[in-house]
C-alpha cells in the first residue's frame, strides 16, 4: 500500500480572507471554464450563432418586403433591434449555467473552496459578456454582408456596442434570479423564453410602434427593448434614415433612458437575486 501524502496542517499564517485581486483572478478562471464548456458543447455555440442568423434572414427576406416595401430598407431598420433582442436572449445563458451548477452540485464544490464568495457569479457574468460580444459582432457581420450600412462613424458604432454590453450586464441580474428560482435547466429555458419572447416582440424591433393600436403603443414606447433599439438605431444609422417612420432624431434621449433602465434593473434585481441565492444554498 502506497500512502497518498498530504502536507501537514498549515501553520497559523492562513489568510483570513480573499484579497480583491485574487477574487478577480478566480472570477477570470471561472469565466475560462465557461468558455471551455462552449468548446465542448458546440451545440450551444450553434444556438447563439445560428439562431440569430436565421432570424435576420427570416425577417429580412420573408417579412421585410411586406413591412417596409423592400427588404433592403427593412434590413437597415430591423438589424439594430435584432441585435438588441438577441442580446437579451443570450443573457439567459447565465441562468442556464448557474442553474446547472446549482442542481448538479458544482456550486457547492466551488463554495467549499477558499475563493471569493462572489467569484462564481462574477465568472459566469464575465463569460456571458464574451458570448455577448461574439453574437453582437456576428449579427452585425451578417447584416453587413447582406447590405446593412453604418450611417455614422466607428466611434458611434463602438458606443452602441458598449451600451448593449452595459445593458446586458444589468440584465444578467434578471437571469441570475431565473437561474436560482428554476427547478432545473429545462425550466430555465421555458421560463426565460416565455417571458422574453413577448417582451422583445411587443417592441419596435420588427415594426414601428405607429402601426400598432394605441393601448399597445403605450407599452411599446416604454418597453426598454424599444428604447435600447432606438438608441442603437440612432448610434448606428444617424441621419441616414431621416423621413422614415423608424427614424430616431437624436441618440441622446434613448441612450440616457436605456442607462436609466439598466440602473433600475440592477437596483431591483441584484439584491433580489443575491437574497434568493442565499436562501437557496
Amino acid at each position: 500500500m502506497t500512502a497518498i501524502t498530504t502536507t501537514p496542517p498549515a501553520g497559523p499564517s492562513l489568510p483570513a480572507r480573499v484579497s480583491p485581486l485574487d477574487g478577480v483572478r478566480q472570477s477570470l478562471t471561472l469565466a475560462w471554464r465557461t468558455i471551455v464548456q462552449v468548446r465542448h458543447n458546440p451545440w450551444e455555440l450553434g444556438d447563439f450563432s445560428f439562431q440569430p442568423i436565421m432570424f435576420v434572414l427570416l425577417f429580412t427576406f420573408v417579412f421585410g418586403g411586406a413591412i417596409a416595401g423592400d427588404w433592403q430598407s427593412y434590413l437597415q431598420f430591423m438589424l439594430p433591434g435584432m441585435i438588441t433582442m438577441n442580446m437579451l436572449f443570450v443573457t439567459m445563458y447565465v441562468a442556464q449555467g448557474l442553474n446547472t451548477d446549482l442542481t448538479k452540485g458544482v456550486f457547492d464544490r466551488l463554495r467549499s473552496l477558499p475563493i471569493a464568495r462572489w467569484a462564481p457569479l462574477a465568472g459566469r457574468i464575465a463569460a456571458d459578456q464574451v458570448k455577448q460580444a461574439w453574437s453582437i459582432v456576428l449579427v452585425l457581420g451578417v447584416g453587413l454582408v447582406l447590405g446593412f450600412r453604418i450611417g455614422t462613424n466607428p466611434a458611434s458604432l463602438l458606443a452602441a456596442v458598449l451600451l448593449l454590453l452595459v445593458f446586458a450586464l444589468a440584465f444578467s441580474w434578471v437571469s441570475v434570479l431565473v437561474g436560482v428560482l428554476a427547478r432545473d435547466p429545462e425550466r430555465v429555458q421555458i421560463f426565460g423564453f416565455t417571458a422574453l419572447f413577448p417582451v422583445t416582440f411587443v417592441s419596435n424591433v420588427f415594426v414601428p410602434a405607429e402601426s400598432m393600436p394605441g393601448w399597445l403603443q403605450a407599452f411599446v414606447n416604454v418597453n426598454p427593448v424599444s428604447i435600447l433599439s432606438d438608441a442603437c438605431r440612432a448610434l448606428m444609422l444617424g441621419d441616414k434614415t431621416a423621413g422614415s417612420p423608424w427614424h430616431v432624431a437624436s441618440a441622446g434621449p434613448p441612450v440616457i433612458q436605456s442607462l436609466l433602465w439598466a440602473a433600475v434593473i440592477v437596483a431591483i434585481f441584484a439584491p433580489l437575486s443575491v437574497w434568493a441565492l442565499k436562501r437557496k444554498i
Binding site: M1, T2, A3, I4, T5, T6, T7, P8, P9, A10, L14, P15, A16, R17, V18, D22, Q26, T29, L30, W32, R33, V36, Q37, H40, N41, D101, T103, K104, G105, V106, D108, R109, L110, R111, S112, L113, P114, I115, A119, R183, K280, I281
Partner: protein, 328 residues
C-alpha cells in the same frame, strides 16, 4: 492539535424539520470518523455545517481550532469535500476539472497542470484524462470527485457517502484509495449508510438518527454493544419454530426476532453457529436455512433504537438536491 474537528450542540432547522438536534462530535487528528445512519438522519447536514456550506442555528464547530462560521475562509483552506452534492463539472474533461480547481487555489498554470497529471495517475484516470467527466463510469466519477477534493492537499477530508451506488469492485477500489490517504496522515470524516464500510475504514463510529448521535465508539465497542453479526435460522417444519426460537435465544443471549418462519438474533461470538447446529441436531430439527452474516445497518438500528432504520436501503443519489429543504 489533538482534535482536527470539534463540534458541540449543533442544531439546524429546515422549516418545520429539525435536521440536527444537538450533535456533538470530535475527530482526532489523523484518524477516521465514520458517521453512520440512514437517509435523513442528518449526516449530510452535519458535513455541510462542518464544510462551511451551512450555518448552524445553534452550537459551535471548529476545524483545527478555526470556527466554521467566523473563520470560514481559513476552514476552507484546510478541507477537501467529496459528496453527491459537491461535484465536478461533467462537461469538462478530467484534466480540465483538476486544472480549474488548481488555478482557483492559486497554483500557477504549470503547477496546476503538474498536480492534475499527478492526481490522475494516482487515481488511475490517466487514460480518461481528456474525456468529458459525463462519459465516466460511476467508479471513475467518484475517483475524479475524490481527486478534485485533493488538489490543494487538504489535511482534512470530508467524504459524504463516497460509495453509495457503486458496484462492489469500484467500492473496494475506493476504500483502498481512502486507506492510502489515511496512511499519508489525512484526517477523514466519512458518512455512510453501510455498517461494513464504517467498520472497514473508521477508527471511530458515531451512529446518528433523527439529528442526534445515538451511539459512539470504536467499531469493536459498537459491535460488542449491538452484536456484530446476525444469526439466521429457518426450520424446515413450522412446528419446530418454538424450539428454534428458544435455542437461538438461549445461545445468543438475546430475544430473537421472528419473521414468518425465519428466526434471527444479533450475536457477538461466531462460536454460536456450531453450538446452534449441535443443539438443533440433538433435538432432531431439520433446518432449511442457517446463516451467520454481518449485521446490516437496519439490524444495528433495531438493537440501538428498538425500531428499524427508515428507508435505510433507499439509495438517494440525485434526489438529495431536489429535497434540499428537507434534511439529507
Amino acid at each position: 492539535m489533538d482534535h482536527a474537528i470539534w463540534a458541540e450542540g449543533l442544531v439546524k432547522h429546515f422549516g418545520e424539520t429539525k435536521a440536527l438536534d444537538g450533535v456533538d462530535l470530535s475527530v482526532r487528528t489523523g484518524t477516521v470518523l465514520g458517521l453512520l445512519g440512514p437517509n435523513g438522519a442528518g449526516k449530510t447536514t452535519t458535513v455541510r455545517v462542518l464544510a462551511t456550506l451551512l450555518r448552524p442555528d445553534a452550537g459551535r464547530a471548529s476545524v483545527n481550532g478555526y470556527d466554521v462560521v467566523a473563520d470560514a475562509h481559513r476552514v476552507r483552506q484546510l478541507i477537501g469535500l467529496t459528496g453527491q452534492y459537491a461535484s465536478v463539472d461533467e462537461t469538462l474533461t478530467g484534466t480540465e476539472n483538476l486544472l480549474l480547481i488548481g488555478r482557483l487555489l492559486g497554483l500557477s498554470r504549470p503547477a496546476a497542470r503538474e498536480r492534475a497529471r499527478e492526481l490522475l495517475a494516482q487515481f488511475e484516470l490517466t487514460d480518461a484524462a481528456s474525456r468529458a467527466a459525463k462519459t465516466y463510469s460511476g467508479g471513475m466519477r467518484r475517483r475524479l470527485d475524490l481527486a478534485a477534493s485533493l488538489v490543494g492537499r487538504p489535511p482534512l477530508l470530508y467524504l459524504d457517502e463516497p460509495t453509495t451506488g457503486l458496484d462492489p469492485r469500484a467500492r473496494a477500489e475506493l476504500w483502498e484509495l481512502i486507506r492510502r490517504l489515511v496512511a499519508g496522515g489525512t484526517t477523514v470524516l466519512l458518512t455512510t449508510q453501510y455498517l461494513d464500510e464504517a467498520d472497514e475504514l473508521a477508527d471511530e463510529i458515531m451512529v446518528i438518527d433523527q439529528g442526534r448521535v445515538i451511539a459512539a465508539g470504536t467499531p469493536e465497542d459498537l459491535k460488542a454493544k449491538t452484536g456484530s453479526q446476525t444469526l439466521a435460522v429457518r426450520p424446515a417444519d413450522r412446528a419446530h419454530l418454538p424450539i428454534v426460537t428458544s435455542v437461538v435465544g438461549e445461545l445468543a443471549c438475546a430475544i430473537p426476532d421472528v419473521k414468518g418462519q425465519l428466526v434471527t438474533a444479533q450475536v457477538t461470538d461466531p462460536a454460536v453457529l456450531p453450538a446452534v447446529v449441535r443443539r438443533l441436531d440433538d433435538a432432531g430439527v431439520v433446518v432449511s436455512e442457517l446463516a451467520l452474516r454481518t449485521s446490516s445497518l437496519n439490524e444495528v438500528f433495531l438493537s440501538l433504537t428498538g425500531r428499524p432504520a427508515e428507508e435505510a436501503d433507499q439509495s438517494g443519489s440525485a434526489a438529495t438536491r431536489q429535497t434540499e429543504g428537507s434534511p439529507a
